[in-house]
């Protein structure tokens, strides 16, 4: 067996060397590859802080065995927008006051991106259900729900303009 495996993360290949078999995708992302934007807060899928996209599906990185993710594409919060130029959803979180301690935030951002990709017209109750796997201890969710709703509205408004605009968001 090879002493390393390869993961595709945010569009680039990363080799993982000499790993212990039981390492989760979360551990490998954070500790071996330096993608510390993905947070660890419960390691049992009950908080959503480690939300990532695997083959564009929203999952908890703590519940994926790292070695099982070879051959799939992994997108972390760092892969959603270039550093310093936040995505629409990211900017909406800042503007709406959806960030306090910020520990749950990357997971929520990934979950919100997944939601708006799948259901661009999501509104109140759908947003609540879609984000119900992402626990926030600081905000009481009010500003988070507002941020996602605002991002959805902005996308719809932009989409009503031109197709090109939609492609940019």
């Amino acid at each position: 067996m090879p002493e390393f495996y390869e993961l595709q993360i945010n569009g680039s290949a990363h080799d993982v060397h000499d790993a212990w078999l039981g390492e989760s995708l979360l551990y490998v992302l954070r500790e071996r590859l330096g993608f510390t934007g993905t947070k660890s807060a419960c390691e049992e899928g009950e908080c959503g802080s480690c939300s990532v996209l695997v083959d564009d599906v929203l999952v908890c990185a703590c519940l994926a065995l790292a070695g099982s993710a070879t051959g799939k594409t992994v997108t972390t919060v760092e892969g959603l927008a270039a550093t310093g130029t936040p995505s629409d959803v990211q900017q909406a979180f800042v503007t709406a006051g959806a960030v306090q301690c910020g520990f749950c935030t990357p997971g929520l951002i990934v979950a919100a991106h997944a939601l708006l990709t799948e259901s661009p017209e999501a509104t109140g109750q759908e947003i609540r259900e879609a984000l119900s796997g992402n626990v926030c201890r600081c905000t009481g969710y009010g500003r988070i729900l507002e941020a996602v709703a605002a991002a959805a509205r902005a996308r719809l408004a932009a989409g009503a303009g031109s197709i090109d605009d939609r492609g940019e968001t």
């Binding site: 212990w20 039981g22 551990y27 954070r30 500790e31 330096g34 993608f35 510390t36 934007g37 993905t38 947070k39 660890s40 807060a41 419960c42 390691e43 049992e44 009950e46 908080c47 802080s49 972390t76 919060v77 760092e78 927008a81 550093t83 310093g84 936040p86 990211q90 900017q91 979180f93 800042v94 503007t95 006051g97 960030v99 306090q100 301690c101 910020g102 520990f103 749950c104 935030t105 990357p106 951002i109 109750q125 947003i127 609540r128 259900e129 984000l131 119900s132 796997g133 992402n134 626990v135 926030c136 201890r137 600081c138 905000t139 009481g140 969710y141 009010g142 500003r143 988070i144 729900l145």
Partner: protein
């Protein structure tokens, strides 16, 4: 470019504006560095061996097995602590490592350092500790009665304090009483305890990157245990993923430093969630008996009360928590006579200490439940009974202290009462189960749902009490139109980093504010707790900026031959208020640098005397909550539909931040009301995980409607009161009162004297 808000005339980023957080973009992009994210080359991992017993004698510890695990670099126990063997915020009664006995499940016994977390776990499993299990002390009443041998050299009573005020024999025509209980709540911040310790070459000093609430207090305790002078221990604030009181005490700080000093390499420790539940202090479980005497028209005549707080194995802040509880017995109501007996005791349960609300949460659940009983006994409504007794500025508390703070209690109640009730129909709509109690579980149909409304109103002391020398330090440097602020204030999510910049922009007329590293290279700012940082560190930043402004005005005045008293800041300019001079601040600075450091103190407080009399607190804030809930009475399931709140904030320096504190605090109050409790059995913890310790999700939080009551407090440096704690104090009793009301509509009478209210408490 300066864009002024045309509606308010306010310059963006100044006081009163909902400025956005300077750390916001980094946090949404995942580039903000939390303490758990800090990595350094050559770093190894640490992990902690913990007691499996609530009470046991350590017969022997054999660490040789751990050393046989490949990759292990250090194994430390009590005998490896070079300095003080114990630490503590108030009393140093807690061992760095248990040596002779263990006093709670989860108490640290040893630590290891190794190349991989998995190696650490295998090494811990290989340490053999022989315990002689002892009978644990678990019942606080047994501790009070003195029926159990001392479980600690300091004894089993952490504090006993009485309050006797007015006529202790006074009686009222109407009397209501009850005994109220609160379970143990966890702060459950998301960012687990984590630290990185970097030893100085030669081992003469250490740098610790740590998520904490109070760098300097941590340093005092760490240095003492390491046997190092404080200047050799440098603390740097690592990004803090929430705190809520749980980071006020030491957890892994000393352990991480000891390992790093031992092996001469950087060491990281991060707790798991399971560990975190036993690795920090919790909200005190409490049992509170209260009896209210009142006139037939509902005026409170006297309150009698007995508080018992279970402090767990070590003192932590049990003493001030108890003080807060008993001194808030009366709630935000006038009360001429009182007899209160308060106990905080040591047991073999998990240690308890600070959590948002700090003793007042417990008192408020009791006094608000009592107010509803009093209302019923007097034939009054929940709002009317509270308005009739509402405290005002100038009233005397049961401690004899006069309330000098702005006290808009009646206004909070009437403004909350005026907020619209929810539009949500009883029993939801669109057949959507998510709108009903039970949610996705599809337990309830509209016909099973009854709606109730309940009230909770609170008073909370701000900042530290009982003679504590409470101060904050800030340094302001003005250079070339840029302000650099330095302070040791822990940003834990509350938003001090945004307020600090707003203060500097308002006072000094600059746009660009830089925040220096938060570390122990400057004096203490005190703890980020007790709703105190806006007042204290805000006061310090404000004072430092004002001092720099004085220096700037002196400089400009000298240049232009003016009296500096004529100068003022207008927007981003220095202007002569009696002339025509107008200079951009940047130009006025003219290559100079102004640099001032200030210590800010609130006015001193006093100890209580033996009858609980004394000016022990410095200021107060108030809040009213109205809860609307839907209850499935048969199954005992609750859905909170709306919380309306009016809160006394003094002045909203950043309305968006205030709203965030209010909504977030309500979520924690809701959690305590209906789901959050560390379940314990014989001293063992049964639900130390997020699978079983339930936090409110986005589907549990209701609509929140808010009215900010802004009456600037003349005592407060910026007119602003702390806003963090009140939202989680009276929201809990409001929700429980609403559940009782809903049940009444269903023809069911339940006292619901215990929180969290469990389905079985309602249904059976």
């Amino acid at each position: 470019m300066i864009v002024t808000d045309t509606r308010t005339g306010r310059r963006p980023g100044t006081l009163g504006d909902s400025a956005v957080r300077p750390d916001g973009v980094a946090k949404v992009q995942g580039t903000f560095s939390f303490s758990s994210d800090e990595q350094i080359d050559g770093c190894v991992f640490g992990a902690t061996l913990r007691s499996p017993h609530p009470s046991a004698r350590i017969v022997s510890i054999d660490v040789s097995g751990a050393w046989k695990v490949s990759g292990v670099e250090a194994v430390l126990t009590a005998e490896d602590v070079p300095g003080n063997a114990t630490y503590g915020l108030v009393v140093a009664d807690q061992p760095v490592f248990a040596a002779d006995v263990v006093r709670y499940v989860g108490e640290p016994v040893a630590v290891v350092a190794a190349d991989h977390p998995e190696t650490c776990q295998r090494a811990l499993a290989a340490i053999r500790v022989d315990y002689e299990v002892l009978e644990p002390l678990l019942d606080p009443e047994v501790a009070i009665r003195g029926e159990h041998p001392d479980i600690h050299p300091d004894g089993n009573i952490l504090r006993h304090q009485r309050i006797v005020h007015g006529d202790p024999d006074a009686t009222g025509d109407v009397m209501v009483e009850g005994t109220y209980e609160l379970g143990m709540q966890d702060q459950a911040f998301l960012g687990l305890e984590a630290a990185l310790a970097i030893p100085e070459p030669g081992g003469g000093g250490i740098e610790l990157h740590i998520a904490t609430q109070w760098l300097h207090e941590d340093r005092r305790q760490i240095a003492a245990c390491l046997g190092l002078p404080e200047p050799k221990v440098r603390l740097v604030l690592g990004g803090v993923g929430g705190a809520f009181g749980a980071r006020e005490d030491i957890s892994l700080q000393v352990h991480t430093c000891l390992l790093a000093l031992r092996i001469g390499r950087p060491v990281r420790i991060q707790y798991s969630r399971r560990e975190s539940f036993v690795g920090h202090v919790h909200r005190h479980p409490a049992r509170i008996w209260m009896r209210h005497h009142a006139t037939t028209t509902g005026q409170i005549v006297k309150i009698e009360a007995r508080f018992v707080f279970d402090g767990g194995a070590y003192a932590s802040t049990s003493s001030p928590v108890l003080l807060n509880g008993i001194t808030h017995t009366q709630g935000p109501y006038r009360c001429p006579n009182a007899v209160v007996d308060g106990w905080a005791v040591r047991t073999n349960n998990l240690p308890c200490g600070a959590m948002r609300g700090f003793g007042v949460v417990q008192a408020c659940f009791a006094h608000e439940s009592q107010m509803d009983r009093l209302a019923e006994a007097c034939g009054l409504g929940a709002v009317e009974i509270r308005l009739r007794n509402a405290m005002r500025t100038g009233d005397t508390l049961i401690t004899g202290q006069v309330v000098e703070s702005v006290a808009p209690v009646a206004r909070c109640i009437t403004e909350a009462d005026a907020l619209p009730l929810p539009e949500e129909p009883v029993g939801g709509r669109d057949g959507d189960p998510m709108r009903l109690p039970g949610g996705a579980g599809r337990t309830s149909d509209a016909e099973h749902v009854h709606r109730g409304i309940g009230w909770g109103v609170s008073i909370k002391n701000l900042m530290y009490s009982e003679g504590f020398d409470d101060f904050a330090t800030a340094r302001c440097r003005l250079s070339g139109g840029v302000v650099t602020l330095k302070f040791a204030t822990a940003e834990v999510g509350q938003g001090f980093v945004v307020i600090a910049g707003q203060i500097a922009r308002s006072v000094l007329g600059v746009d660009e504010v830089r925040l220096d590293t938060v570390d122990t290279d400057i004096g203490s700012s005190g703890s980020t707790s007790a709703s105190r940082q806006t007042w204290m560190s805000g006061g310090a930043v404000d004072a430092a900026c004002r001092k720099v402004r004085e220096r700037l005005f002196d400089h400009v005045a000298a240049q232009h031959g003016l009296d500096p008293l004529r100068l003022a800041i207008d927007g981003t300019d220095v202007i002569d208020t009696m002339g025509t001079l107008r200079l951009a601040v940047e130009d006025a600075v003219m290559g100079r640098e102004f640099d001032e450091t200030v210590e800010f103190r609130h006015r001193p407080t006093e100890d209580l005397d033996e009858n609980g009399q004394g000016n022990c607190h410095t200021a107060f804030a108030f809040a009213a909550h109205r809860a609307v809930v839907d209850v499935d009475a048969e199954l005992g399931l609750v859905k909170v539909i709306q919380i309306a709140t009016a809160q006394d904030v003094g002045r909203a320096l950043n309305p968006l931040s205030v709203l965030g504190q209010i909504e977030g605090g309500i979520a924690q109050g809701l959690g305590l009301a209906v789901m959050e409790e560390i379940v314990r059995n014989a001293g063992y913890v049964r639900n130390a995980s997020f699978t079983d310790y339930l936090l409110p999700t986005s589907l549990d939080m209701p609509e929140v409607v808010v009215s900010l009551v802004e009456e600037p407090d003349p005592q407060a440096p910026l007119g602003a009161k702390g806003v963090g704690e009140p939202p989680c104090i009276s929201s809990t009793p409001a929700i429980v009162a609403a559940i009782r009301d809903a049940l009444r509509h269903a023809g069911i009478e339940r006292r619901l004297d215990r929180v969290p209210v469990r389905p079985s408490d309602i249904a059976l």
